[in-house]
C-alpha cells in the first residue's frame, strides 16, 4: 500500500512584485520561496531529501534552464540534494507535486521540497503572449497570432455558447468575485486594483476586448511569483507534528489526485468531446479520479475549491466539471451565489489566477498551499470558515493537462 503524503506548509512570495524592476534574477525567487518555506515550516534544510521545481518557460523568459540546481544554491546543506525540474505549461507546478508525491508514496524519500516559479515580467506583454503560445500547438495555433491564449479560451466560451448558451454577465460575475476575494489576500497581485461587476460588464478603453469574447477583466494576470511547499510521509510528519503538539491526523494530506491529458490542439479537444456532455471530458475525468481516490462521492464533500481561472471561461468550465451543476448549467451556481466567498461552495477564496495572479509554473503549488492553509484554518483574511477539505484544479494549455488534488485532514 502506498504511503500517505502530508503537507507541512510552505511560503508564497507576494504576487504583486515585479522582480525585474527589483533587478532580480530567477534564482532570487527560488531562494526566497525556499527560505520562506523552511522558516514557515520549521523544517531544517538538512532534513530535505529531494527537491522538485515546477516551471514553464524560464529558458524563454530568463534565458535560464536547469532550475532544479538553483535549490542547491540556497543552502550548503542542500549540496548533493537530488533535484529536477518539471514542465507541463501552466500545470508545471502540479506535475512537480505529482512527481514528489509519487516518490514519497513509493517510499524513496520521506521529505520533499517542491517549488513552483515563474518570472514573466522580463519581457513585454506581446512577447510574453507569444511565449505562452508554446503551451498550445505553437505552429498551428499560436505562431503569428497576437495573444493566442485569450482567443483559445474565448473559443471555450464559444463552445459552451454553442452547446448550452452562455451569457457574458455570468463571466463578469466570476471576474468580480475573484477580484473581491483577492482584496482579502495580502499576497494577491490585484489586491489594490479597482474592479466591479459593472466594470467587468462594460467595455471601452479600460476594458478592451483581447480576443473573441475575452475582455481584459476576463483574464488572469502576468505575474512574477514563487511558491514552496514541503511534503512528507508519516515517518517524518509524525515527529514533526508531535514537536508542535499536534497529532498526525491534524495535518493536511493529499487525499486524492487526478491527472489526465487531452489532445493538444483545441479543435481536436472539441472534436474528441463531441459525444460527451462535458466540454472537456478529460478534465472531468481528472476530477472524478481525484474524488474516487479521496473516497468522496461528489463536490459537496468539499468546503471550497481553488480552480484554474486563467480566464473566466475556464472557471465557468470548472463549475460544472467539478459537479456543482449539471453540464452546461454553471450559470445556476453563479446566480445562486454558490461560488461566492461565504457561498455554499466558495471558489477561489484566494482570488484565483484572475485576482491573486498567475505565475504560470508556480500556480499549482500556490493552489496546493492555499488548500492546505484553508483546511488548517491558517488562511487569514480569506479563510473559509471551518474548512476541512478543499480541492484544486490546475490546467496546462487550452484544457490539455488537467491535475486535480483533494486536500483534507482527518481530525
Amino acid at each position: 500500500m502506498s504511503r500517505t503524503v502530508y503537507i507541512l506548509g510552505g511560503h508564497q512570495t507576494d504576487f504583486a512584485r515585479n522582480w525585474t524592476k527589483e533587478g532580480k534574477h530567477i534564482s532570487a525567487m527560488i531562494r526566497e520561496a525556499v527560505e520562506g518555506t523552511l522558516a514557515a515550516t520549521g523544517v531544517a534544510a538538512k532534513d530535505i531529501q529531494v527537491g522538485h521545481v515546477g516551471n514553464f518557460a524560464a529558458e524563454l523568459y530568463s534565458m535560464q534552464g536547469h532550475l532544479g540546481a538553483f535549490l542547491v544554491d540556497v543552502d550548503p546543506a542542500f549540496h548533493g540534494l537530488p533535484t529536477g525540474r518539471h514542465e507541463a505549461a501552466c500545470a508545471s507546478g502540479s506535475i512537480a507535486l505529482l512527481a514528489a508525491s509519487a516518490e514519497l508514496e513509493a517510499g524513496r524519500y520521506d521529505v520533499a521540497l517542491v517549488v513552483g516559479v515563474e518570472q514573466m515580467k522580463t519581457v513585454s506583454p506581446a512577447i510574453g503572449g507569444d511565449y505562452l503560445g508554446t503551451a498550445a500547438w505553437y505552429e498551428s495555433e499560436a505562431k503569428g497570432v497576437e495573444f493566442p491564449f485569450p482567443k483559445l479560451f474565448g473559443k471555450l466560451g464559444d463552445e459552451y455558447d454553442r452547446r448550452y448558451g452562455l451569457k457574458d454577465e455570468h463571466l463578469a460575475h466570476i471576474s468580480a468575485v475573484n477580484y473581491a476575494n483577492a482584496k482579502r489576500n495580502p499576497k494577491a497581485q490585484t489586491r489594490t486594483w479597482y474592479m466591479t461587476e459593472a466594470h467587468a460588464c462594460g467595455g471601452g478603453e479600460y476594458n478592451a476586448t483581447i480576443g473573441g469574447r475575452i475582455k481584459i477583466s476576463d483574464c488572469s494576470q502576468v505575474t512574477d511569483g514563487a511558491v514552496g511547499v514541503i511534503l512528507a510521509t508519516e515517518a517524518y510528519a509524525a515527529g514533526w507534528a508531535r514537536q508542535r503538539g499536534m497529532s498526525l491526523d491534524q495535518l493536511p494530506r493529499i487525499q486524492g489526485w487526478g491527472h489526465r491529458t487531452a489532445p493538444l490542439r483545441f479543435v481536436d479537444k472539441v472534436e474528441a468531446a463531441k459525444d460527451s456532455p462535458y466540454v472537456l471530458p478529460h478534465t472531468r475525468q481528472a476530477v472524478t479520479d481525484a474524488y474516487r481516490r479521496a473516497g468522496i462521492a461528489d463536490c459537496w464533500a468539499l468546503d471550497g475549491i481553488e480552480t484554474h481561472d486563467c480566464f473566466t471561461t475556464s472557471e465557468y468550465m470548472a463549475i460544472d466539471h467539478f459537479g456543482l451543476t449539471a453540464p452546461g448549467e454553471s450559470w445556476k451556481a453563479i446566480e445562486a451565489g454558490v461560488i461566492d466567498f461565504g457561498g455554499k461552495l466558495p471558489i477561489n477564496p484566494s482570488g484565483g489566477l484572475i485576482g491573486a495572479g498567475h505565475p504560470v509554473g508556480a500556480t499549482g503549488v500556490r493552489q496546493l498551499l492555499d488548500c492546505a492553509r484553508q483546511v488548517t484554518g491558517t488562511a487569514g483574511g480569506y479563510q473559509v470558515d471551518g474548512a476541512r477539505r478543499f480541492a484544486m484544479l490546475n490546467i496546462g494549455g487550452s484544457g490539455t493537462t488537467s491535475v486535480v488534488f483533494v486536500v483534507g485532514r482527518d481530525a
Binding site: T13, D14, R17, K21, E22, G23, K24, H25, S27, A28, M29, I30, R31, E32, E35, D73, K183, P186, K187, R191, T192, W193, Y194, M195, T196, A198, H199, G202, G204, E205, Y206, N207, G380
Partner: protein, 440 residues
C-alpha cells in the same frame, strides 16, 4: 459601537482637480462611497473626475462621482459625512476654505486635510469646537491609487474616537496601510525621507550628483535613486519641506535640513526638476527618443555637463552588493556594505545608517512604534524600512556600526540587540521586495 466606516455615506473633495484631490477622490469612489468632486469651476472638477477614471482604469467609478464648483460648496458640505480638503498647500488658503466649511458643515462630520506638512492645529485654529474635534490630517502619498501608505494625524483637540473611526475607514474600505503620527513638522514619512534626500543633495556639492546618486542607489534599499526622487517631486516642494523642518525642528539631524545654497541659487533661476523640463534639476534630458541626451548638474558652477562625460567610479563593494541582491542574498549584500572600507563606504554608511538612526529615533516622538516608521517608509516611499535593514545587518552589528559612525543608537535597536529580536513586524510582507539591484 457601530464602526464609522459605515456612517461615511458621502464625501466632498475640495480641490478635486489637482493630483492629490483627484487621486484621493478616486480612492473614496473606489470604495463605493458617493463622492463629490469640487473645484474652482465645474469643468475643472470634471477634469479631476476623468483623471480619477484614468488612475483606476475604469469608467465604472464615475457611478460614484458627481462634480461641481465652489459655488456648490455650502450645499454639498452640509450633507457630507467627510469633507476632504486638497487645495493649495498654503496655510492662508486652507484657513479660508475651512472657515466656509465650518459655517456649512453638519455637526459630527469629519473634516480632513491632505496637507503633507502644515500644522494640523494651525489649520483649524479659530474654528468651532465641533470642527476642531472632528479635524485631522489624512496624508496620502502621490499617486494615492498606487501608493497605499498614508498618515493619519490628529491635533491636541481631535477626538480620539474620531481618529479611531477614520483609521478604521482608511485601513478597511480604503485599503490603506495607515500609521498615526503626532502633529509635528512634516509628520513621519517626509521628515525621515527628506532628511536622507537633502543630506544626499548636500553631499552632492562635493562629490557630484552622478556619484552620490549611484552610490546611494537601488542597492541601498530604494526603487528610485535619491536625487532622481528630488527631481521627480520638484525642487520647490523639496525646499518647502526641508525649510519647514529646518525652521521648526531641533533634533540631531538639524543641519541635514539646511537647503544647499547651490539649490537655492538654481531655484531662483527657475530650475525645479522634472516639472521644468527645459531647465532640469540634478539631471536634465534634452530631446526625445534616440535624440535624447542626458546631462548632469555641476553644483559648483551651476552648469550641466553631458552625463557621458561624467565618470562615476564606484568601489568594488558596490558591485558585490548588487550581485548578492540580484540573486536574493540580502544579508550578504548588507555584509558587503558593513565590512567595506574607504571614503565611499563611509559615505554610504553615513547616509544609510543615518536613515536607520534618524528614522527609528522618531519612535516616541512622532510615532508610537518602529512598525509605524517602517510602514510609511516601506509603503509610502517604497524604501527599505529601517527595521528591514537592521534585521539584515543584525541588531548587534547595527549598534556597533552606528556607534562607529558617531550616530545616535535608537532605543528600539538597543532593545532588539539585547534581546536578540527581529525588529521588522510585518509577517505578511516580503522583506525581499525592499532590496533592489541596479540594472545589470
Amino acid at each position: 459601537m457601530e464602526g464609522m466606516a459605515r456612517a461615511i455615506k458621502k464625501v466632498v473633495v475640495l480641490g478635486a482637480n489637482g493630483a492629490m484631490g483627484s487621486g484621493s477622490g478616486a480612492v473614496f469612489a473606489s470604495a463605493g462611497i458617493p463622492t463629490v468632486f469640487l473645484a474652482r469651476t465645474r469643468d475643472k472638477a470634471d477634469a479631476g473626475r476623468q483623471r480619477a477614471e484614468k488612475m483606476v482604469k475604469s469608467t465604472a467609478i464615475s457611478a460614484f462621482i458627481t462634480v461641481g464648483s465652489y459655488d456648490d460648496l455650502e450645499r454639498e458640505v452640509a450633507g457630507a459625512d467627510l469633507v476632504f480638503e486638497a487645495v493649495a498647500e498654503e496655510l492662508g488658503v486652507k484657513q479660508e476654505v475651512f472657515a466656509r466649511v465650518d459655517a456649512a458643515r453638519k455637526p459630527g462630520s469629519v473634516v480632513a486635510t491632505v496637507s503633507s506638512g502644515l500644522s494640523i492645529a494651525a489649520m483649524c485654529a479659530g474654528r468651532s469646537d465641533d470642527f476642531q474635534k472632528h479635524f485631522c490630517g489624512m496624508h496620502f502619498f502621490n499617486p494615492p491609487t498606487v501608493i497605499v501608505g498614508c498618515e493619519l494625524i490628529g491635533h491636541a483637540g481631535t477626538s480620539p474616537a474620531v481618529l479611531a473611526d477614520v483609521r478604521e475607514l482608511m485601513a478597511g474600505p480604503l485599503g490603506r496601510e495607515v500609521i498615526e503620527t503626532s502633529d509635528t513638522p512634516a509628520f513621519c514619512g517626509n521628515r525621515v525621507g527628506f532628511k536622507v534626500l537633502n543630506e544626499v543633495a548636500q553631499l552632492a556639492q562635493e562629490h557630484g550628483p552622478a556619484f552620490m546618486d549611484a552610490l546611494i542607489g537601488p542597492h541601498t534599499g530604494r526603487a528610485m535613486t535619491p536625487l532622481a526622487t528630488v527631481d521627480f517631486v520638484g525642487w520647490d516642494v523639496h525646499k518647502a519641506i526641508v525649510d519647514n523642518l529646518y525652521a521648526n525642528t531641533k533634533d540631531e539631524a538639524h543641519a541635514a535640513f539646511a537647503l544647499p545654497a547651490y539649490m537655492q541659487a538654481l531655484i531662483d533661476k527657475g530650475h525645479l526638476g522634472n516639472k521644468t523640463r527645459d531647465k532640469g534639476g540634478f539631471f536634465l534630458t534634452t530631446g526625445k527618443g534616440k535624440e535624447a541626451q542626458r546631462f548632469v548638474l555641476d553644483p559648483k558652477s551651476g552648469t550641466y555637463r553631458p552625463a557621458a562625460e561624467v565618470k562615476v567610479e564606484l568601489p568594488a563593494f558596490v558591485g558585490a552588493m548588487n550581485a548578492a541582491i540580484r540573486s536574493g542574498r540580502y544579508r550578504q549584500g548588507m555584509d558587503a556594505m558593513a565590512e567595506a572600507t574607504g571614503t565611499a563606504a563611509d559615505l554610504m554608511r553615513k547616509v544609510v545608517l543615518g536613515y536607520v538612526s534618524y528614522g527609528l529615533a522618531r519612535v516616541g516622538e512622532v510615532v508610537e512604534r518602529a512598525r509605524d516608521v517602517d510602514r510609511i517608509m516601506g509603503f509610502g516611499f517604497n524604501w527599505a524600512p529601517p527595521s528591514v535593514l537592521v534585521d539584515a545587518l543584525g541588531a548587534r552589528r547595527t549598534v556597533a556600526l552606528l556607534e562607529r559612525a558617531g550616530l545616535p543608537v535608537p532605543r528600539v535597536v538597543v532593545e532588539a540587540a539585547e534581546r536578540n529580536l527581529m525588529l521588522f513586524d510585518e509577517p505578511e510582507v516580503d522583506r525581499g521586495r525592499f532590496f533592489f539591484a541596479s540594472a545589470a
